[in-house]
C-alpha cells in the first residue's frame, strides 16, 4: 500500500517537473496576475470611496519629505536635532545619578564592607570593581538612552523611518544591494543584533548577506553615548561654550553619516567582488502617517528599549568590572597584568592615533559597547595613577561631570587626535559578541561571521592610521 502510494507520489513529482519545463517562467507571473485581478474585482465591489478623501494632504507631505531636493537635508536636520536634544539634555541627570550612585553609593557600600569586616580584596573586587562598573554604566548611559530612544521611537511610530529608507533606496540599488537594506540599516541604529535579524525581510540570499555584513556600520545605541561624550569633551571644547552643543552635534552626525558612507562603499565592493549579482526588484511601501500615542510610546520605549538595553549593559558591566579589577590588581613581579597588556598594545595604539588603554578596553568590552568608556576611564586611572580618591589601582574614580572625565583623559595623555580617532574606532571595529553570535546564527557560516567581525577592524585601523598621519602633518 505504502509502496504503491510512494510510487504515485514519485509520478506526481515527475509530471510536475515536466509541466514546469512546458509552462516555464511565465507560470509564477501568470498566477500572481490572476490573484491580483481577483483581488481587484473583490475590492471594487466592496469598497466605497467618497471623492474627497484625505490622501492628498499625506501625499503632499510625502512629496516634500521624500523629494530629491529636500529629502536628504531634512533627514540630516532631523537627525541633528535629535542628537542636540540628547547632548544638551543628558548632562544634568547624568551628574545627579553619578552623585547618588558613585559618590554616595560607593562610600556607603565601602562603609558597609568595613562594618562587616570584609577583607580588602573582597570589598575591592565587589565594590571598586563590579559595583562601580555597574554604577558607571547607569550614570553615563541611562540619561542619553532615556532621551534618545523615546524620540527615536516617536519618529518610528509616526512613520518617518520608512521614509528615510525610501530616500536611501535609490543609492542602495546603485551599489547593487537590496532596497530593503535601507530598513535593516535604520534598525541597526537601534541595535545591530536586531538589524541583523531584520535582514530576513530580504529575499535574495546574496543581498541579505550584504545587509548582514554591513549592518555594523550603523552606529548602534551602545555607541551613541560614547560618541556624544567624546565629541563634547574634545570637539565641543574647541569652540566657545555657547556653540559647543551644536558643534558636538555636528561631529556626531558626521561620524554617523561616515558609517552610512562606509556601508555603501562596502556594499558596492562586495557586489563587485565576493558577492556578484544584479539587485532584485521590490517595492517599498510608504505606510500612512499615524499620530503616535505619545504616552504609550514613551512607556514602551522606556520599558522595551531603555530598560532592556540598560539591563544588558549592567549584566555585562558587573563581570567586566570584576575582570578589570583583577587584571589591575593581580601583580606579576611588581607590575599588574593590565599594565603588561597596555605596554604591549601601546605601540600599536600610538601608530593609529589611539593608545594601549583604548585597545585593551575594546578587548575587555567585547560583550557590550556600552562599557567601553567606563573601562577606558578605569584603565587610564590605573596606568597614569591619576586616581582622585582611592589609592587602589583599577578603581573607577568618582567622576561627577563631563569636565572631570575630560581632565582624567587629558592627564592620561589624550589629545584631540585621540578623541577623534576613538570616535572613528568606535564606529569602525568588531561588532559586540551578541551581534557576532547573531550573525553566526543567521548565516550559519563561520567564514562570513569572521568576515563580518574582521572587516570593520581593518577599516578602523586604516582610517585611524590615515587620520593620525594627516593630524601630525597639519599640526
Amino acid at each position: 500500500m505504502l509502496e504503491e502510494k510512494e510510487k504515485k507520489l514519485r509520478e506526481v513529482f515527475t509530471i510536475a517537473d515536466k509541466l514546469q519545463w512546458e509552462i516555464g517562467e511565465q507560470f509564477h507571473d501568470r498566477v500572481i496576475e490572476e490573484v491580483y485581478a481577483h483581488a481587484k474585482e473583490i475590492a471594487e465591489s466592496s469598497v466605497i470611496k467618497s471623492p474627497d478623501h484625505k490622501y492628498s494632504f499625506e501625499t503632499r507631505v510625502d512629496k516634500i519629505i521624500t523629494s530629491k531636493i529636500f529629502g536628504f537635508p531634512l533627514m540630516l536636520l532631523l537627525l541633528a536635532l535629535v542628537f542636540w536634544i540628547t547632548i544638551v539634555g543628558a548632562n544634568y541627570p547624568s551628574k545627579l545619578l553619578s552623585y547618588i550612585l558613585v559618590d554616595k553609593g560607593l562610600s556607603g557600600l565601602k562603609y558597609l564592607g568595613e562594618m562587616l569586616k570584609m577583607p580588602s580584596w573582597l570589598s575591592g573586587f565587589l565594590f571598586d570593581g563590579m559595583y562601580l562598573a555597574g554604577a558607571w554604566v547607569v550614570s553615563v548611559m541611562l540619561p542619553p538612552m532615556a532621551i534618545f530612544f523615546p524620540i527615536f521611537t516617536l519618529l518610528e511610530d509616526l512613520g518617518y523611518l520608512p521614509r528615510v529608507a525610501f530616500n536611501l533606496d535609490g543609492i542602495f540599488r546603485k551599489v547593487g544591494a537590496h532596497g530593503r537594506q535601507a530598513l535593516t540599516m535604520t534598525m541597526g541604529f537601534g541595535c545591530n543584533a536586531a538589524g541583523v535579524v531584520a535582514t530576513r525581510i530580504i529575499d535574495s540570499p546574496r543581498e541579505r548577506l550584504i545587509a548582514i555584513l554591513t549592518n555594523n556600520f550603523s552606529l548602534c545605541n551602545g555607541r551613541w553615548p560614547t560618541q556624544i561624550l567624546i565629541a563634547t569633551i574634545f570637539i565641543g571644547a574647541l569652540v566657545p561654550q555657547h556653540l559647543s552643543g551644536i558643534v558636538s552635534t555636528i561631529a556626531v552626525v558626521t561620524v554617523a553619516m561616515l558609517g552610512v558612507v562606509f556601508m555603501f562603499l562596502t556594499s558596492y565592493g562586495l557586489t563587485r567582488t565576493l558577492l556578484k549579482g544584479e539587485p532584485s526588484a521590490f517595492s517599498l511601501e510608504l505606510p500612512p502617517y499615524r499620530p503616535p500615542n505619545i504616552l504609550q510610546t514613551l512607556y514602551r520605549s522606556i520599558i522595551d528599549r531603555t530598560i532592556v538595553v540598560l539591563w544588558r549593559a549592567i549584566v555585562f558591566a558587573f563581570p567586566a568590572g570584576g575582570v578589570i579589577w583583577l587584571v589591575s590588581n593581580i601583580q606579576i613581579s611588581g607590575m599588574s597584568i593590565a599594565e603588561y597588556l597596555i605596554r604591549i598594545l601601546d605601540p600599536i595604539g600610538i601608530i593609529i592615533g589611539l593608545n594601549g588603554v583604548i585597545l585593551l578596553a575594546y578587548i575587555i568590552a567585547i560583550p557590550a559597547n556600552e562599557i567601553v568608556i567606563p573601562t577606558v576611564l578605569m584603565l587610564t586611572v590605573l596606568v597614569n595613577k591619576v586616581g582622585v580618591i582611592s589609592a587602589t589601582a583599577g578603581v573607577l574614580m568618582e567622576v561627577e561631570s563631563t569636565n572631570e572625565i575630560a581632565q582624567i583623559l587629558k592627564m592620561g595623555g589624550w589629545t584631540l587626535l585621540t578623541g577623534i580617532n576613538l570616535m572613528l574606532f568606535s564606529l569602525l571595529h568588531n561588532p559586540c559578541s551578541t551581534t557576532i553570535y547573531t550573525i553566526y546564527k543567521e548565516t550559519q557560516s563561520l567564514k562570513w561571521t569572521v568576515v563580518a567581525t574582521v572587516l570593520p577592524i581593518i577599516f578602523g585601523v586604516i582610517v585611524c592610521f590615515i587620520v593620525a598621519r594627516i593630524y601630525y602633518l597639519v599640526l
Binding site: 511610530d157 530598513l183 530576513r200
Partner: protein
Amino acid sequence: MNTKCNDCPVSQNSLLKKNREDTSNFDYIIALAGNPNVGKSTVFNMLTGLRQHTGNWPGKTVDLAMGGFTYNGKKYKVVDLPGTYSLLSMSADEEVARDFILFENPDVTVIVVDATRLERNLNLVLQILDITDKVVLCVNLIDEAERMGIKIDDRSLSRQLGIPVVLTSARRNKGLDVLLKYIEEVITSKYICKPKRTKIKDKKISAAVDEIVKKLDEIFPDLINKHWIAMRLIEDDPGIKRWLENRLKEIST
C-alpha cells in the same frame, strides 16, 4: 468602548481573559497573518494583554511572537506571524509565515488587513485562502478609513471570500468582541468557511494544475490545499516535496 462595557455581561469582552505569555494547555491555536503595518501586533496585544512594540514600518516583526488568552472557557494560543505582502516570493519571513499555516495547522488563521489599502491586502488573503480553509478576515484601521471617506461593505466581502469578515479598530478596541465570536464559530464549525479561491483562467496552467490535483487526490484524499500544493510543485518547491514525502510516511504508520 469605555471600561464599563468590558464588565457588562452582554459584552463579549467580559468573556475574554488575557493570559499574556501563558500559552500552556491551550485548547486551540490561532495564527495571526497580514501585511506589514496593518496593526497586526496591536490586535495581538489587545487579545493577549502583551505589549509587543508595534513599529510603523514594514518588516518590523521578524520572529514569531506568542501569547495567550481565555475566551468563553477555552484557552487559546496566539502566534503573531511576520508581516508579509505575499507568500510567493519566498524570503525567509514569508517562509516562516507560510510554513506555520501549512505545517502547524492552526485551528484558525486570522488575517488582519488595512481597510485603507484593501485591494493590495487582498492579494495575501487570496493566497492564504489557497492554503487553509479556516480563516477569519479582520479588516482593521476602520476608523482611519472612515476619516478618509472609505467605506467597506463587510457583507459583500464575506460573501465573495466565503469567510467571516469583521471590521475593527484594534487601537480603540472596536470590533474585537465580534472577532472573538467569529474565531470561536469557525473553530467549532458553527460557521463553515467556503473560501472562493482564485480560478486560474489560463487554460494551459489550469489543465496542468488539475492534472496534478487529480493524482494527489488518489494519494491524499483528505488534503485540503491540493490546488495550492500542485502549484508549488510546478514551481519546484523542495520544502513542499519533502513535506509530502513525510506526510505519506506519517499516514502509513
